[in-house]
């Protein structure tokens, strides 16, 4: 097995008294889908926020290709090749679909992008490809706010595709999708896996997890309770009890 791209160890963060994430260790490997599973409020989104620098960790480390990314600003982490999606999508609502995707290909905040005409062509091509792969080409001129639910979710994916990152952190990208959309989403993900992207997927639907994940990390109350291949994890009755919410200590 190849070296992991991203290695997190002992990530912790509390809000007031609540330990949202308490010592999570997680590693992501190229060409592998790791599903982050756990009940609501388990700390999944917070894990992402700690990795991407949206939140400061109280303790722990995160190494990207051996280099620490702790304490870096979100845009720095992004430029190092970590792309993420948001549970609430956060599309650029008043921009066109194409501009949403174009924006993902441009990282310089300066008046113009570096690299001249050749780089511009490459960016345009990346944007068009992302639109095509997500089936949004026909809607490219529509504004993001006018899209239907599934289209919005695919636009969020298109931005990630266009960003050409090698680590994807996806926060419930398939939730609420109908069956055929979910199948299309699965194809997208498998394609990226073939291309060697390291993917971390937060997902509540266990069917999706079984189909797509190579590994599962089971998170509850900020801790990784179990980690391993999907069959073993999903068959564990104790975890199932926690996941489906009928444990005794439920508050």
């Amino acid at each position: 097995m190849s070296e992991p791209l991203l290695v997190c160890e002992g990530l912790s963060r509390s809000f007031g008294g609540v330990k949202a994430v308490a010592g999570v260790s997680l590693s992501l490997t190229a060409g592998m889908v790791t599903a982050l599973v756990g009940p609501n409020g388990a700390g999944k989104t917070t894990c992402f926020n700690l990795i991407t620098g949206n939140l400061r960790a109280d303790a722990g480390s995160a190494l990207l290709r051996g280099q620490s990314i702790m304490g870096l600003k979100p845009h720095r982490v992004a430029r190092m090749g970590v792309a993420r999606s948001f549970q609430d999508l956060r599309l650029f609502t008043h921009m066109s679909v194409r501009d949403n995707v174009r924006a993902a290909t441009e990282t310089s905040a300066w008046f113009w992008q570096p690299g001249g005409a050749a780089a511009r062509k490459a960016r345009e091509a990346a944007a068009e490809e992302a639109l095509a792969r997500t089936g949004l080409t026909a809607l490219a001129e529509a504004r993001a706010i006018d899209l239907a639910y599934a289209e919005r979710k695919f636009l969020s994916m298109a931005r990630i595709l266009a960003a050409r990152a090698d680590i994807w952190l996806l926060d419930e990208p398939a939730s609420g999708l109908d069956l055929s959309s979910r199948r299309r989403f699965g194809e997208l993900l498998k394609e990226a896996r073939r291309q060697g992207v390291a993917i971390c997927l937060i997902e509540h639907n266990l069917d999706v997890v079984t189909e797509l994940a190579d590994r599962i990390a089971f998170l509850d109350q900020g801790q990784v309770l179990a980690e391993g291949d999907p069959q073993t994890i999903l068959r564990d009755p104790k975890l199932a009890a926690i996941y489906f919410g009928d444990r005794e200590d439920a508050a």
């Binding site: 979100p74 845009h75 599309l91 609502t93 441009e106 905040a109 960003a163």
Partner: protein, 291 residues
Amino acid sequence: MIAYFTNLASLGAIFCILAATLNVAVGYAGIFSVAHAVFFGLGAYAGAQVSLLLIPDALVAMVVAALVAGALSLCLALPALRVRGEYFVAASLGLQMMAVTLFSEAKTLTGGIGGLTGIPRPHILGVEVSTLPVALAALALILLATALLMRGSFGRTLQAIRDGESAAEALGKNVAAAKALAVAFACAGAGVAGALFAMHMQFVNVESFNLDQSVLIMAMVIIGGTGTLWGPLVGAVILLSLPAGLAFMPFIPSTEVGAVQQIIYGLAMTLLMVFRPAGLVGDLSRGKSHA
């Protein structure tokens, strides 16, 4: 009569520059500054001093004014990076009020309340020129630059930040840098307008750079429509022709023209916000919830 119209046209071009540049901050970057007149003033004082002390060259004056206003735009960028929404408006109001005090008190630089007088007419390479062509050329250049930048990646970055700051960051955009640049661009443009204004009027004082002026510029952008290239120009022309139009109405006593004009644009601002929040030129569905 011709002199009257050239004067009006020159002022029109100057205010079009002000409105167009404020629109970059307000319409594209979502930075709602009510301190644009401060940078207009900085440019005017800088341009006037260059003309008075150094050489009365319009180009030099405009460049210096742009540099001064652009550099000091940091005062506005700083709160823009820290806070948003109402808080930023409050900060820019505070900046506006402090600047007026500074302008009236820093007598060696600004001439205090009395202002700077005897500013030479604009020259280019030693030849005296009238303001109008210079102002029009500056306006055209600034509009061209705005159009190019806003349709390109920079404009996309600003709009992305406006619509979703954290998502823009997650795509690798340096939000602080982009905001600071947008503010610097807008303020430098206001500085250019200020230099032109000083050379055109041959006299400047703090009266032209107070909160009322900032609100007037803001009103131009809002009434025309934010986030469009032409909206601010339409707004500027409408609001500037208002006093001229009112002057022809015999039933308004001349002492009250100013007040009537202010009432009209105050009413226009309120009614527009209630009934057509995107402005006259703006696309209606775009105007909603831009914050």
